[in-house]
């Protein structure tokens, strides 16, 4: 990732810089307020008092320009899919996507008989973590975010891959 990719030797300084970068990224996962359906309510409840996502440095932002994380909460229809792609493109790099709930994972309840639902948001944008549930409990979503944090910590920015 970035301009320095594969150009620097693997040494203790860069490894630590890498760690520092990842650590700061993982603890400031600002997520975009992008809720389409049922999961959006659970997302709201996760952000509210009892589960309090702010504890993980995850604060909601209303605009994609300021967010690092897109939590796709809810059904994505064909009509909406273009917009999802556009929102994703507007987000600055590095960016991550969590597919929350069955609808975003595979189309869920609408997989079989619906003509207008996109069968999995991964058809239009890359997804990092899939959180199952219909809708997932707030705890499950937090666990998904923690899993994403773990993934971020393993990223290599400066050192050789």
């Amino acid at each position: 990732m970035g301009v320095l990719e594969d150009k620097l030797p693997d040494n203790i300084l860069f490894t630590n810089v890498d760690k520092f970068l990842n650590w700061s990224r993982k603890n400031s996962l600002w997520y975009m307020l992008f809720a389409t359906a049922c999961c959006g309510i659970e997302l709201m409840q996760t952000g509210a008092a009892r589960y309090d996502l702010d504890r993980f440095g995850a604060i909601f932002r209303a605009t994609p320009r300021q967010s690092d994380l897109m939590i796709v909460a809810g059904t994505i229809t064909h009509m909406m899919a273009d917009r999802v792609k556009r929102l994703y493109d507007q987000m600055p790099s590095p960016k991550y996507v969590i597919a929350m709930g069955s609808c975003a994972n595979t189309g869920g309840p609408f997989y079989k008989d619906s003509y207008s639902v996109l069968k999995g948001v991964d058809k239009v944008i890359p997804v990092d973590v899939y959180v199952p549930g219909c809708p997932p409990k707030p705890e499950a979503l937090i666990e998904g975010i923690m899993k994403l944090q773990k993934k971020i910590m393993e990223e290599k920015n400066l050192v050789k891959k």
Binding site: H78, M79, A81, D82, Y115, S116, L118, K119, K123, V124
Partner: protein
């Protein structure tokens, strides 16, 4: 007011244009000739003692076996506290019916929805466009012979 009585009033006023009274449905329904629906609805709203203040629901139905389509109007009156169903039957290959938008403005969206999902054309409607599906969608999904599309834009359905 009893639905039977409403049917009586209607057939007195419109004569042969009121075709049938179906008691088995709930609420009981009156089958109206297609061309007369706008007049009948206006009378139902403004007629003495009828006062059907609002259109609760407007549904299009595909009756494929009979080669027909139907539009069903569920009306009720919040002043008189009675309700009735009005039905019209259309030709399935060329479904056209008058709009009731001028009677109840709320019908606007319901008619657009019936147009979108079933392809029923409402003559005289002010803004007959698709409402739920994208403009470039093909076909009318609630028809019984609708075939699901394979691809939309750049991805598989």
């Amino acid at each position: 007011m009893e639905p039977k009585k409403i049917y009586g009033i209607l057939s007195e006023k419109f004569g042969g244009k009121i075709k049938q009274f179906i008691e088995s449905t709930l609420p009981p329904s009156v089958l109206v000739e297609t061309g007369a629906i706008a007049d009948v609805c206006r009378f139902l709203k403004e007629g003495d003692g009828l006062d059907f203040t609002s259109l609760m629901c407007l549904s299009g139905v595909d009756l494929k076996e009979q080669g027909k389509m139907a539009v069903v109007y569920h009306l009720h009156s919040m002043k008189q506290k009675h309700k009735i169903t009005i039905k019209v039957e259309l030709d399935r290959n060329n479904p056209h019916v008058q709009t009731v938008e001028q009677v109840w403005p709320g019908a606007n969206w319901y008619e657009r929805e019936a147009y979108d999902l079933l392809g029923i054309v409402f003559d005289g409607h002010s803004d007959l466009r698709r409402i739920l599906l994208p403009e470039d969608w093909e076909g009318h999904p609630l028809r019984k012979d609708y075939v699901y599309p394979k691809r939309y834009h750049t991805w598989d359905v």
